[in-house]
Amino acid sequence: MSAVISLQDIHKTYQTGSVEVHAVRGVTAEIQTGEFVAIMGASGSGKSTLMNIIGCLDRPTKGQYLLDGTDISKLNRDALADIRNQKIGFIFQGFNLLSRTSALENVELPMLYWHRHLNGREQRARALSALETVGLAERADHHPNQLSGGQQQRVAIARALVNQPALLLADEPTGNLDSQTSIEIMGVFQKLNEKAITIVMVTHELDIARYTKRNLIMRDGRIVSDTPVTQRLNAETELRLLRDAQQAVQLTV
């Protein structure tokens, strides 16, 4: 198995005024193809900074980062933009869809910045098939403000998938969602992971992390724990249990 992500002694320091903030202090880790990893930690633990580095939005101050075999540490802005476009799919806490733009057009967006330009019909077909993957094909013409939070996040996942990246990166993907929708989204992730898509997710919710296969815990800029998930939750089962529980409540009331 080849490593999608290979981090070698990654450091990141920020200069905030006269104070030097050491956000990440020597992280070494490998994530293989087909893994489903949750990075956890309290706020200020450096997980967001590490996420930005993994997502090629930022470069490490020190250390080597290989993404899909490419050394990211030495690339310039434009090259990083291309890497983000082709190798990484981003999913954000706040969905970050373009408002006043239909779901379909939001999903088409990454293809706009692609090198090998597709014609309009191909773009549409690919965007539609990505929406189908997340079960939202029938809402393709809806605008974000006509969609629920869970649906918006599904559009965002479709957008992340459309360029067939090597890696899906999700930053608190369930942070703005209620528990049932959160489980639904985790179900989408699990299904994608079954198709051998590598997913790295930042979360601070322990129960959400239990849907993944491996948990990395960060504290003070270091990885303090790296454990496989033993009692993994299955989103479909959990949803069924939740529904049963809801029905039970309705019966008794």
Partner: protein
């Protein structure tokens, strides 16, 4: 190509999102470009009108005026001091090669009468060649002849207005008209010309042999001016020079002293007449340019606001893989779309305004197509120039900061 289309689509959508703001920003461009086009239209219309008038002076004409135009810093006007004589005119025709026709000229205003009507009009004394030089045909009757000039006959050719005022509804040919109580027989009527640029009635005149004007109307022995026609345009300057030499000699002006006459060729007159309108056009165009710059600043302002407002969108696009250049292009396209649409509307409204002015004031207006093309490209350039800074600012945003922006 696809990319350009997609970028244009994004720009159009962004502009549609804030219709009022887009319209107000465009208004700056519309007014700027509209003002330029309207000013150019008016200026060019005036120029073409003046050129037409100069052309109506005749072809390859040199004018000799009595008295110096600029002596002592004041202009004495046509025929101010009577220093030109019939001998001067005959000398020019006889001695200067390349001169094909000469018309000695004397002008005055006088009261005229026919029957029980009277009228104040312009009296011009000319030679028969005048009608050829001016290319002013006689539509009924005939011109006077060289014989009429020699004998200072009391004959006249009149303009249409004279007929309308003194002999309405009658055939004027053969009728008698009294100029300062001297009876003249009407030989012919000139083709009507209508109003000049300045609004003067060009048909309100009587033309008589210059000898008759001198002896019977004005009672003077000198001419006001001499119209000289050259064989071809290239001869204008040499003929002008030779006239100066000949007249200085005839008038016995010693070297170092000022001429007591003024010689102007047609080109100089045309230049003098158009210089003023040119200055005016330039001045107005400069003002119009200022409003164009103001319009550009408006675009820059709105684009800066737009970049700040859409920081998050820029962050999303960058996270998804947009390069700095893609963002730059997107905002630049938006600015150029804004300015070009404004420019096109401005060209349209400029045309409208100049047509309106033409209709209201009877000034003709004329917008040359090169100015239209120029206005189009200038408005595109304004968009690029004033849109560049905001677009560059957007393209240099840090994706992490942009995504975090609220």
């Amino acid at each position: 190509m696809m990319r350009i289309l997609a970028t244009l689509k994004i720009a159009a959508r962004a502009l549609r999102r804030n219709k009022l703001r887009t319209l107000l920003t465009m208004l700056g461009m519309i007014i700027g470009v509209g003002a330029v086009i309207a000013m150019v239209g008016i200026g060019n219309g005036a120029k073409s009108q003046i050129e037409a008038q100069i052309a109506s002076m005749g072809q390859n004409v040199v004018l000799v005026f009595s008295g110096s135009f600029t002596r002592g810093g004041t202009r004495s006007g046509w025929g101010g001091a009577g220093t030109l004589t019939i001998e001067d005119a005959e000398g020019i025709l006889r001695e200067i090669p390349g001169v094909v026709a000469v018309s000695p000229e004397i002008r005055t205003r006088a009261q005229i009468a026919a029957g029980n009507q009277n009228w104040n009009t312009s009296i011009q004394g000319e030679s028969p060649e005048y009608f050829d030089i001016r290319q002013w045909p006689i539509v009924s009757g005939s011109a006077f002849t060289a014989q009429d000039v020699r004998s200072a006959n009391k004959v006249a050719v009149i303009g249409k207005t004279i007929v309308d005022e003194l002999l309405p509804g009658e055939d004027p040919i053969g009728q008698v008209i009294r100029v300062k109580n001297v009876p003249f027989i009407i030989l012919g009527m000139l083709m009507p010309k209508g109003l000049s640029v300045q609004g003067q009635d060009q048909d309100d005149l009587i033309i008589v042999p210059y000898t008759s004007a001198m002896k019977r109307v004005q009672r003077v022995t000198t001419l006001g001016s001499i119209i000289v026609q050259a064989a071809k345009p290239s001869l204008l300057s040499p003929i002008q020079q030779q006239i100066i030499e000949l007249l200085r000699q005839n008038h016995k002006i010693t070297p170092g002293k000022d001429d007591d006459f003024t010689v102007r060729n047609q080109q100089e007159i045309a230049e003098m007449a158009t210089a003023q309108s040119k200055t005016m056009t330039l001045l107005l165009a400069a003002i119009a340019m200022v409003s164009l710059v103001v319009g550009g600043i408006g675009i820059m302002n709105i684009m800066l606001v737009s970049v700040t407002e859409r920081t998050r969108e820029i962050g999303i696009r960058m996270a998804i893989g947009a390069r700095g250049r893609d963002i730059l292009l997107q905002f630049l396209t938006e600015a150029v779309t804004l300015s070009v649409i404004g420019g096109i509307l401005g060209i349209g409204s400029g045309f409208g305004v100049s047509k309106l002015i033409a209709a209201k004031t009877s000034w003709p207006t004329l917008v040359p197509s090169e100015w239209v093309i120029c206005a189009f490209f200038v408005s595109a350039a304004v968009g690029i120039f004033f849109g560049f800074y905001p677009a560059r600012k957007a393209s240099q945003l840090d994706p992490i900061d942009a995504l975090r922006y609220e």
